[in-house]
Symmetry: C2
Subunit: 403 residues, 2 copies
């Protein structure tokens, strides 16, 4: 059985986890041959033979002994340059860089084909939950109707503290950062971009179509307010940051990242704290629910290990769904039902609602509940970033074949 010699880029929280997990697994037949970091002098909690460390990418990329690159660095541009160079040299890569992947997937798929080389990245979406692999291999059929879930542990942790422990938002955010759940840049988590990037990757493997991040409506939780929480509690729902891709009819699908009112009967209602949960819905099999640790050093590293061992057996993604007959197209021409809380902004001046169901005005805050096109939300997205606004999706069913 061939041995895998790994060149590891990045030795932060995840990189150190990868080092630990590879050492632990007796059957991985893998070893870390070289570790490339940005700053050699930075103190690290894991002790490593100094001869393994380098700060020069070429020490890995030009080493003929190294037959697998594991890339878990933070900077998306650097990550892309490393992955591209490796693939062009015909060296397979395991990556955890969701921002890099979400922005460059079409080119990365071309590079894999052109150089007949594998790029695996299950760790990039939902840490230890095997979402990508299952969409690629097991839900490899056209019965799939929807993938919906809580894909970001940090924002979910904050919302759990706020909802279940009645903690103020600011203190919950601080706690998430202290516990290391939050990304280096917290806006990544709380503005929904982390969920967005994962959703772009998931959609590629769910429906075979790439939609660029900038084309997708993304709204986070940073402007959530006591009155929103109060409203949700009164209605018996939780507010969760939900990413979803869903077939709206046989010809079209849509996707977006938004806070959502989640009812107690839904599987994701009970996904609390830093956990992730994904619901895969299809014709015939109804809903499958996958739940686990979506982030953190060792859970993410164990997902990297799964991809490393898959390489031991020559596995690669085949992107079969790209070639499917009658593939649905992306649309934003769909109507959503939303809740908008506002104070200063004259909301009906900003947003063109199709219809208003409810309207509430008080000295403290106002809200409307109404129907609106997703395309309208995208058109007005800059204006919706106002500090006095908060938007939440009220789920409706688009295509309800089984239930």
């Amino acid at each position: 059985m061939s041995n895998i010699k790994i060149g590891l880029f990045g030795f932060g929280v995840v990189g150190q986890g990868v080092y630990e997990v590879i050492r632990k697994s007796k059957n991985a037949h893998a070893e870390i041959a070289k570790i490339c970091v940005h700053d050699l002098s930075k103190p690290r909690s894991v002790e490593v033979d100094p001869s393994l460390m380098t700060d020069k990418a070429e020490d890995i990329l030009n080493d003929p002994e190294i037959n697998l690159i594991v890339e878990v660095i933070n900077n998306a541009d650097d990550a892309f340059s490393i992955v591209k160079t490796a693939l062009e040299k015909g060296v397979p890569v395991v990556s955890g860089s969701k921002a890099m992947l979400a922005n460059h997937l079409p080119e990365l798929i071309e590079l894999q084909k052109k150089h007949n080389v594998a790029l695996l990245y299950d760790a990039s979406s939902c840490g230890s939950i095997p979402v990508i692999r299952n969409l690629e291999e097991y839900y490899d059929n056209d019965l799939l109707l929807e993938v919906k879930g809580i894909l970001n542990g940090s924002s979910n942790y904050i919302l759990s503290r706020v909802f279940d422990h009645k903690e103020p938002y600011e203190s919950a955010l601080r706690k998430a950062q202290e516990l290391g759940f939050a990304e280096t840049d917290p806006s990544f988590d709380i503005e929904g971009y982390d969920s967005l990037f994962k959703l772009v990757i998931i959609t590629m493997h769910a429906l075979g179509t790439y939609v660029a991040p900038e084309e997708i409506f993304t709204y986070g939780i940073s402007t959530i307010h006591d009155s929103d929480i109060q409203y949700a509690r009164e209605k018996g729902v939780k507010i969760k940051l939900v990413a979803q891709v869903v077939k709206v009819n046989d010809e079209h699908f849509t996707m977006f990242v938004m806070p959502e009112f989640v009812y107690p009967s839904r599987y994701i209602y009970s996904v609390d704290d830093e956990y992730n949960g994904v619901v895969i819905r299809g014709e015939c099999y109804d809903r499958q629910f996958m739940f686990g640790k979506g982030a953190g050093s060792l859970p993410t590293a164990s997902s990297i290990l799964s991809d490393v061992m898959a390489r031991l057996h020559g596995y690669r993604y085949e992107y079969k769904k790209q070639n499917y007959l009658q593939k649905p197209d992306y649309t934003t021409d769909i109507t959503l039902k939303i809740y908008v809380r506002y104070s200063e902004t004259n909301i009906q001046h900003v947003l063109d609602f199709e219809s208003i169901h409810e309207q509430y005005i008080s000295a403290e805050s106002n809200y409307v509940i109404g129907e609106i096109k997703l395309s309208e939300l995208i058109a007005k997205r800059e204006k919706l970033r106002a500090k006095d606004l908060f938007i939440a999706n009220i789920p409706i069913f688009f295509l309800d074949r089984d239930n």
Copy 2:
């Protein structure tokens, strides 16, 4: 892309589901070329071109056009004979027959190797939940510590009716049969054999070791009594029929099927009605929970479709874990903590407890809670079938690495 021509054995609930699902999927590139049934005159709810139907196995097995057998018949001996013949002829098979598989896995693995041919059977364990594929491919490493779950929808439905709806056991059993959740022989479900067969298959893919069904302690729910339910309610737990395989130390694992007191903090506590739920626990990734429809016509058929499409891409199980270094061995030399309710039987005369923690005696019923070797339960299993006894496992942790 090559077309798959399927010879289908069995046209009951699952077989008719397979027919529907294959027709629905435009990208399966598969068609059902022939259907073999036991009794051609039996009326069926799905309308099929009569020229597709036959009652002679040879019409499928000798047809050179047919390049995949899908076998979903009830009789385990007939199923084995069909699958064996097909594999010997080099024709790949997708099977849903858990009893057949659990009893013949070592021979079936040999046949696959000898004739270089694939046998896939994800539908055999937990219907639409992709347990086997994930254990084989994604949890393809030695970090795995435990697989534990509710693998039988019918007994779980009965227990849910009894616990959540306070229905008598007999009426819940009748309802399960009316709804078609129960197997043809209900003892299969309620005595734990259905769960046992699935556990044997799961263990092969979880740890790479085959343990024959008769070597495994299996105890069902048919003797459950109001006083057991009363006791569980008072303790704030539910009684669920749980199958588990768990590493007890680095050298050994154990496995058994038994009713268990499930605490509200556990993932499987909320697996109710006819659903299945599986928890996969490992070093580094802690617990992954998979939840979905474990039985029924279309959910099982959609799992068959996943295996059919996997064949389109040449997929086969590699049984890699059979070759793992330091594979743990099966042991029954472990101590469990159990609850035993009895009335006539002098239980301490029958069972050799290591220690007794609690003892309760009343006019209606008696129980003991104590520690006992699993090997002792196996040695006395015939005596434990007495109608006045009920046994439940009280979970303890064997090997707690992460938490």
